[in-house]
């Protein structure tokens, strides 16, 4: 398969994730869409890594995964604290910092 096929698939996955990020109400769903976008970017990293025959892409994916793990842990902790304090998981209700 050519590089472009993987890039198109990666683009579509990213697009689905981005659309979900906008329309989802539940903060956990928003997180899931975020993971989807990170995953799409990882796919294009790996596709380029094979296309250029270099390890750098794979190492970047490794770092992206580490950051995603840290981000998921911290984000979910914030979600739990939000639920304790506000008793809601709706992103539209957590708008104190908006004003």
């Amino acid at each position: 398969m050519e590089l472009i096929h993987y890039l198109i698939l990666s683009m579509l996955l990213f697009l689905v994730g981005a659309v979900g990020f906008i329309i989802k109400k539940n903060i956990i769903s928003v997180f899931l869409c975020l993971e989807l976008m990170l995953n799409a970017v990882n796919l294009s990293f790996i596709a380029f890594s094979r296309h250029l025959n270099q390890v750098h892409g794979q190492i970047f994916v490794f770092f992206v995964m580490v950051v995603a793990a840290a981000e998921a842990a911290v984000g979910l902790a914030i979600t739990i604290v939000l639920y304790r304090n506000r008793n809601t998981l709706n992103v539209d209700d957590a708008d104190t910092m908006k004003w």
Binding site: N39, V55, A77, V81, L89
Partner: protein, 170 residues
């Protein structure tokens, strides 16, 4: 053969991704995302990156998604207050933005010429990166970032404990 597997696993990944967005209940969204991550791991195997595929299954589909499922089951994501729509225009906005992004990619795809970006034939050992080459690059060229990630994870652990142990303010 590669073409069949690419379309098979690519299709599974895309359908599962759409299901993540389309699903109303967040628990099913998470299960669907696990399927998507596993299909993408299969694509990593097709792209000759078995180590990343294994890490994807173990860390992503294993550890991170289990964390998500724990939190989903701990909280109450099916309550009516969460599913209530407050901004009705958001799906239309998302459709417009998605269509615009697709329209942006169309000229890019039309002008694509594979002859301009040939596959690099001479590289590390003439083939794709083996696990040994990956490890050597990680512990020589990328040693400092690798050590920094351990500090990042330490910060994340401390942050999570501090956040989750805090008592609700009365």
């Amino acid at each position: 053969m590669e073409t069949i597997f690419f379309y098979l696993f690519g299709g599974i990944a895309l359908l599962a991704a759409i299901n993540v967005v389309a699903q109303k209940k967040v628990f099913y969204s998470a299960i669907s995302l696990i399927i998507c991550l596993c299909a993408v791991a299969a694509l990593y195997l097709l792209l000759e990156s078995p180590f990343i595929a294994a890490v994807q299954i173990i860390v992503y589909a294993g550890a991170i998604m289990v964390l998500f499922l724990f939190v989903i089951m701990l909280l109450d994501p099916f309550s009516a207050a969460i599913l209530q729509d407050k901004k009705k225009y958001l799906p239309y906005l998302a459709a417009i933005l998605g269509g615009m992004a697709l329209a942006l990619f169309y000229p890019l795809l039309k002008s694509y010429n594979p002859a301009l970006t040939p596959r690099n034939p001479d590289a590390i050992g003439g083939g794709t990166a083996s696990l040994q080459q990956l490890g050597q690059a990680l512990f020589s060229e990328y040693l400092v970032p690798f050590e920094v990630t351990s500090i990042l994870i330490l910060i994340a652990i401390i942050g999570v404990v501090v956040l989750a142990k805090r008592q609700p303010q009365k």
